[in-house]
Every structure is written in C-alpha cells, then in structure tokens.
C-alpha cells in the first residue's frame, strides 16, 4: 500500500516541521526552488540525481548552482539539494548516507535543505531500516549515516520550541517518482 505509506510519511514529516510536496519533473523542481532561494545552491553528489541533468536545467532556469568547493561555498550558500536513500513513514524521516563530506556540508551549513525522495523508497518503521544499516556498514569501511526528521530545532530556552538553531531552518522533502528504487542509492 504505497499510497498509505506516503500519506503516513507526509503527516509525520509535517508534524516535525518539514514541508512535503510531490514534484513531477526537473522543471517543476527548478520552479519550486526558484521561488524559495536567492543565492548559491549546493548540489550534492547524489547518484539518484545524476540522471536528471540538474546543473544544466537549473542553470538555464537562472539558479546559482554550486557543485564543488563546498567548504568555501557552504558558508555563503543559502540552500543544499540532495537525494535520499530512503524514508521512514512512522517518524517522517529521510535517511541519507552522508559519508561524502559534500553531502554533509550541503545538509548542515545552509539555511534550507531540499531533499528529493522517490516515494517507492519509504519504509514503514525504523526497525525495517536496520537491515539496510547493516548493508551500509558492510559496503562502506567508513560510514556517516544521517537520519533527518524535520528542521533543526531547540527548546533550550524556556522549553519553547524554536526552529533553525544550527542546522537548516527549513527542510523540504520533494517526492519525485521514478527517481530511484534502490535504498542503497542516495
């Protein structure tokens, strides 16, 4: 029942402050991004996105796309765009194998994180992700795996929930079909 999982995922992700939208293609994506960013966008190296020819499409649309030198660019970039390995419906989580430093910088330093997820790759629970975690650890001698659920938050002052303390203050999860059906692929 993929539709039910998508609905559950969407609700849970929205409950923790993420935005979830269905995106049909590159054009819709660039339009979505164009409305929300006005500065450099870090496009992280993600196999699931490579087939989309994004740098070219986005540049044509007038977006300022950065594809390397993230350490320097990260400090000034306004957004990061990544793929995702899979999602977890119970908690509205996106999981990113983030061993490549560029992925980590694109998802930590800029204000906004846009993540493209194929809705086929939504699992129901965190327990179902455990075999995949095993697989990552078998494949990668060094591994940095990130579960991301909503934007950065804090309640450290008077317990008042406040968004965007150190990490991104916006998390946009863009569901795009046909992106990838392999949870080992980001």
């Amino acid at each position: 029942m993929p539709n039910q999982l998508v609905a559950q995922f969407t609700l849970a992700a929205e409950n923790v402050g993420a935005e979830v939208h269905a995106i049909a293609d590159q054009q819709e994506l660039t339009a979505y991004l164009g409305k929300r960013i006005d500065g450099p966008l870090l496009l992280a190296p993600c196999p699931s996105l490579e087939r989309l020819d994004l740098p070219q499409v986005m540049e044509q649309a007038g977006l300022n796309v950065v594809i390397d030198n993230f350490r320097e660019q990260g400090a000034v970039a306004v957004a990061g765009l990544t793929g995702a390995n899979f999602g977890i419906a119970a908690t509205g989580t996106v999981v990113l194998e983030s061993t490549a430093e560029a992925v980590r910088i694109a998802t930590t330093l800029p204000e906004k994180h846009f993540v493209l997820l194929d809705p086929q790759k939504i699992l129901e629970t965190a327990d179902q992700a455990v075999p995949l975690l095993h697989k990552f650890h078998q494949q990668l001698p060094q591994a940095y795996l990130a579960y991301i659920s909503g934007p950065s938050r804090t309640a450290d002052i008077e317990r008042v929930l406040t968004i965007g303390v150190h990490g991104p203050s916006e998390l946009h999860i863009l569901l795009m079909e046909g992106l990838s059906d392999d949870p080992m692929e980001r």
Binding site: A12, N15, V16, R71, A75, A90, T91, T93, T99, A100, E101, R104, I105, T107, T108, L109, A126, D127, A129, V130, L133, H134, H137, L140, P141, Q142, A143, Y144, L145, A146, Y147, I148, S149, G150, P151, S152, R153, T154, A155, D156, I157, E158, R159, V160, T162, G164, V165, H166, G167, P168
Partner: protein, 716 residues
Amino acid sequence: MNKQERSRHYQDRVRKSLQKPHLQDTLHRFADAYVAAREAAFAGHDFEALRVAIGEMKDQVRDNLSRYQAEFVANAEAAGATVFLAQNASEANAYICNLAKERGVKKVVKSKSMASEETHLNRALNEADIETLETDLGEWILQLSGERPSHMVMPAIHMLKEEVAELFSEVTGKEEPAEIPHLVRLARKQLRQAYLDADMGITGANVAIAETGGIALVTNEGNARLTTTLPKIHVALVGLEKLVPTIEDANRIINVLPKNATGQLITSYITWIRGAVPCADESKELHIVLLDNGRTALAESPHCRDALRCIKCGACANVCPVYQTVGGHVFGHVYISAIGVILTAFFHGLDNAAELVRACIGCRSCVAICPSNIDLESIILHLREVIGEEEGVGAGKSLVFKQVMRNRKLFHGMLRAASLLQKPLTRGERTIRHLPLFFSGLTDWRTLPAIADKPLRDLWVNIPQKIDKPRYRVAFFAGCLNDFVYPEMGLDLVKVLNHLNVEVTFPMEQSCCGVPALYSGDRGTAVAMAEQNLDALLQDNPDYVITSCPTCTMALQRDFTDLLKDNPVWAEKAQRLAAITLDVSRFIVDKLDGKALFADASGGEKVTYHDSCHLKRGAGVWEQPRQLLSDSGHELTEMAHSDRCCGFGGSYSFTSHPDIAREILGDKIQDINASGASCVAMDCPGCLMQIRGGLEKQEIAVRAKHTIELLAETLS
C-alpha cells in the same frame, strides 16, 4: 569539607532554590507537558516490553563488558579510529589536551556531552590554553553563565529568557531583547564561524556499537553534525556503559530515548558515524576515548550495577517531585536526579552523593518511568545504608533505632508516654496545631495528629467479632500509625472485614515494620524488626496478613525477603509472609470479590482519590480502591496528578527535608482543591497525616479519609 559543613551548604542551597518560584513553575509546567507528550509518543508501543528488553540487553553488555569492549575497539580501529581507554577523568582529559597540543589545536567546538561534564573537560582545556566553545544552545548559555547543567537533556531549563538575553548582551556588547527566536538566531550567528575555524570537534555518544565500531548521536539542533563534519579532528568521549552489541540494539535504544526524554517520536537528527570519514579531501582524524571512571566498579556492585543500564534520557528528573521543587543544581551533582544520585556516588565519590542520597523522598515515580527498568529507589536506599555505615545515621536516630525501636516494649511504652506528654499541646483535640520553639516549623504548614489515648492493641480485646464460619482468618498488621495514631481506622477495618465474613486477629507482638530505620540507612535495626514481625505474624498461621499502610505492605512483601534472603533460618519465613500479605483494598476486591458486597451501600459523596506512592508503584494497586469507592456509591472524580507524591515520606517531612515536603504538599492540596471533591480518599495513614494536616491548616473543607474509613461509613 566536613560533614556538618557539607550539610549546611546543602541546606543553604535547598533554601535558596525554594526562593525561586519561577524555577518551580518552569519545572512543573515542563513535567505536565512532558507527561502528555510522552504518552502520545508511546501510543501503540508496549513500554513495559521495550524497557525490559533494553534492561536485559544492557545487562548482557555489563556481564561481558571486556568482550564487547574488545570487539568495539577492534572494529573502530579497523575503520581508522584511534581508541583510548581512560581509567578516570584526569586520564581522559590529559589524553584530549595532549592530543590538542600535539596537533596545534587552538580552537575546539563541542557538542553536548555529559561525559565531558563528568570529567570537567572544559576546565582542563582552558587550563591548557585551548579555546573551547560549547555549541549546544543550552550548554553555551551555561558556559557563559559559568553554571553546570541542571538537567541532562535540557541543561539550561532553570534559566529565564531574560537571563539568557543578559548573557548574550555581554557577548555582543549591545542590549539584546529577551525574545526567544531572536536569541536562538543570535546563537546561530555567533557560533557559526566557530565551526569553520575550529581545529577539533568534541562530542559524546549515545551508543557505541560493538559490531560496527561506530557511534550514534541523538540530537535536535544540528550542532553535533557540524562538530563532526567541519573540524579535521573528531574526539568522541564515550562512557563505557554506552556500549551495545549490535545495530539492532542501538536502534532499540534510539527508538525509546527521544520518546522518553522529551516526548518526541524522534529527534531531528540521528547520526551514525563509523571510522575516519572523509574530511577536506583527506580522512578525518577520529579519536574515541572510552571512559571508565568508576563504571567497572559500578558493574561489580551487586546492589547498584543496574544503574549502568541508564541511557541518559533524564526522565527520572522530569517526574521527580523533589527535582520539580528544587531543580537539578540542588538535587544533583553533575548528573542529576535519581540516576544522578547513584552515578555521583560512583563517578564523583560518596561524599558528593551523601546529601543527595537523603534528598530522595522514595516515591518511585522514577522507577515507573525508567526506560531501562532500573529500580532507582532500591539502589538509592542501598546507598543510604552504605552512607549510614560510613558516616552513621545521626546520633539521635541511631539511639531511637538501636536502643528503642528494637525493643518493642520500650518503643511502645515510649509512644504511650508520649500520648500523655503531648496533652498540653493537643488542648484536648485530636490534632496538634502548634508546636513550641524549634519544632514549630513542623506545624507551620500542617497540623499533626495527636498520639491516641489508647492504641489499637489496647482496644482490640473489646472489639466484638461475631462470625460463625469465617471465610478467612486474617492477621492485621497495623503499623505504628494505625496502631498508635489512628486506632479508629483499625476498628473500621474490622467492621468492614467482619461484614464481609472475615475474622481479623491482631498479633500483639507485632511492632514497627522497620522501614524508618531502613530508609535512614540502619539495616541492622531493619533486620531485627523483620525477624520480630515475622515471628509475630506467622505464629497463628493466618490465611492472609492484611495491611492498611502501603509502606508496611512493601516492607512485608519486599523488604523482609530482601533483608533476610541470605539467612537460611529466616528466608523461607519471609517468602511465606510476602506471599500472603495484601493491602486491605486489594484483599477485598481480589480475594473477597468485594464488588457485590457493597451493592447496597450508598456513599453518595463526591470523592477524589490520591494514589499513595508505595501502593501504586510499590504494590501495584490503584484500581481496587477506586472500584471500592464507586461500588459503595460514591461519585469518583479524578484530581490532576493523582499519583504524585504528597510529600510525606516519613522522616523526610519531619527531620530531613521538611521544607521540600511542604512544597510538595502544597501542590497536592492545590490539585485536591481543584478537583471539586468534598472528600479525598487514600490508602495510607502516612499520606493521610500529611494531606489531612495540610487541608486543616489551610482550612479547606475537604475531608481526608482512608478508603477503609469510607467503606465503614457506608455500612453504618
């Protein structure tokens, strides 16, 4: 610092904390929000099963610690990490400071790590002239204010936004408004450059996974991700108790931790790191410092070792009435609240734990909420015994316990004498409203009941019991309060049980259950009392032993067997008594099918019910008295926080912490009043003494009654 000085300092801190109403407001509001959020987060989950599984898994690690440690080290090193085992805090700090010096580190960013608080790492880094910046918002605030965390998960929960604004104004050099979004934004801006400039990032870990050699971090702010990504060196300071065997086990903890810590389904970020991951076209330098610092000693302590199961969720503070009253700077050292008492004893020495061990009121709310299934209260009681043995339980108490309480005739003789001596104070009434001189503090906020003219034991022979063929013959264990202060409650118990065709006996050799001595750390007296009572209660081979005081119930059901388990003469007797001991409400409902028996009763009063700590969380009884009250025709209305402690705690409210007890009682009175009931029922004479005293003193027209009294009323 000697003992007297230490105690004075501590009492001083208690007093000061009680003068901060905003602290109590904050912690109470948090507690309410937490309980609701947590319940929602665990909806559809079997918390009991989850925590049993975590406890078992952690025990397995503890029992095979060297094996899992070796597995972790081998896998971490294979992935490019350097692992150092620090025996104590100074070894850990020295390792990190030396590493920093060798690598020419000038600036360190840290994400929140309780282990680094434990070792006072910041102080060591400062002394080594290494600039260190806390990046967790709460920790940064505390770094600026020079304080330590007052909560494991929400370190700056004690501070107001105005205080934070003042601290931040000093940083920026201009006046910053006390608006939380602005302050959070400001922290983001101020700390951002530090991540980029820092040469070293220091984190803790929530789990260390043996089968992968990796760690996982559970965070909300995203600072740990930056701390582990940007600087070229990553040091993870990890307590040995964080080891888990597998990814499944890590997942098990991560599933429960945010739910139980803050009522979140999951935190914003779960970060799994294994090995020296890429960093600026090279590999990161990863050092994992495994910290012992008392943990293997704790693993060897049969009474205390369950504390190593702790996953540091902080829930034991969230629900603790003492924490909610005085905060973590008083009820804590580095680690706070119930688990803090225990960890302080092992990580920071018995001396630092001594006052805290006595600050626990013993309500067991932490035990009920612990996600690792730790019986925190029992461990704290054990530590109280240890401290009692090391430091003595106090001359006055020692005299009472050893010389008086162990000798039943003398003890009861003194209680009878007290009944006469108190006459000038009672003015012929059943309660004492004022006490002279330095005792007056005890009647400032509650009246105290007078000791009865005649104890229950003297009245017993004259109680008629006409039962031809009793269903059961039960022995009544009255406990001191029922016997000497509230004998009428015993008469009511007989009346109700006779009505239900049960004959009640009163073994005259019974005496105090020994809990006051045990809870004060005098195990020897507790053992002596257990033996006396076992002989007395089992003598006539009753069908059941019935109690009206849940603390006595726990003594008979739990403490006697524990105290005597290694004694072949007594162990069997203690088990036999435990098996036939029941509190009276449970006895009526479970054994007599009391429901039908009160069908004709017409209570007709609006009654609210207070759950006594030891009845609900000790004996596991809370439905039965409610059932009896509604079956006997009363309208039951629930108060808020019905199972929150009333602040009695035996000697807690008389000698050790009357100030805290008064505050906790104040909360309870408020909840009773707000329920709109005209009567509050409970199943504990101690709670009754406290609550009735508070209601009387505040002149609130709500009756406080033991359930058995209300049942007897309906039979009149």
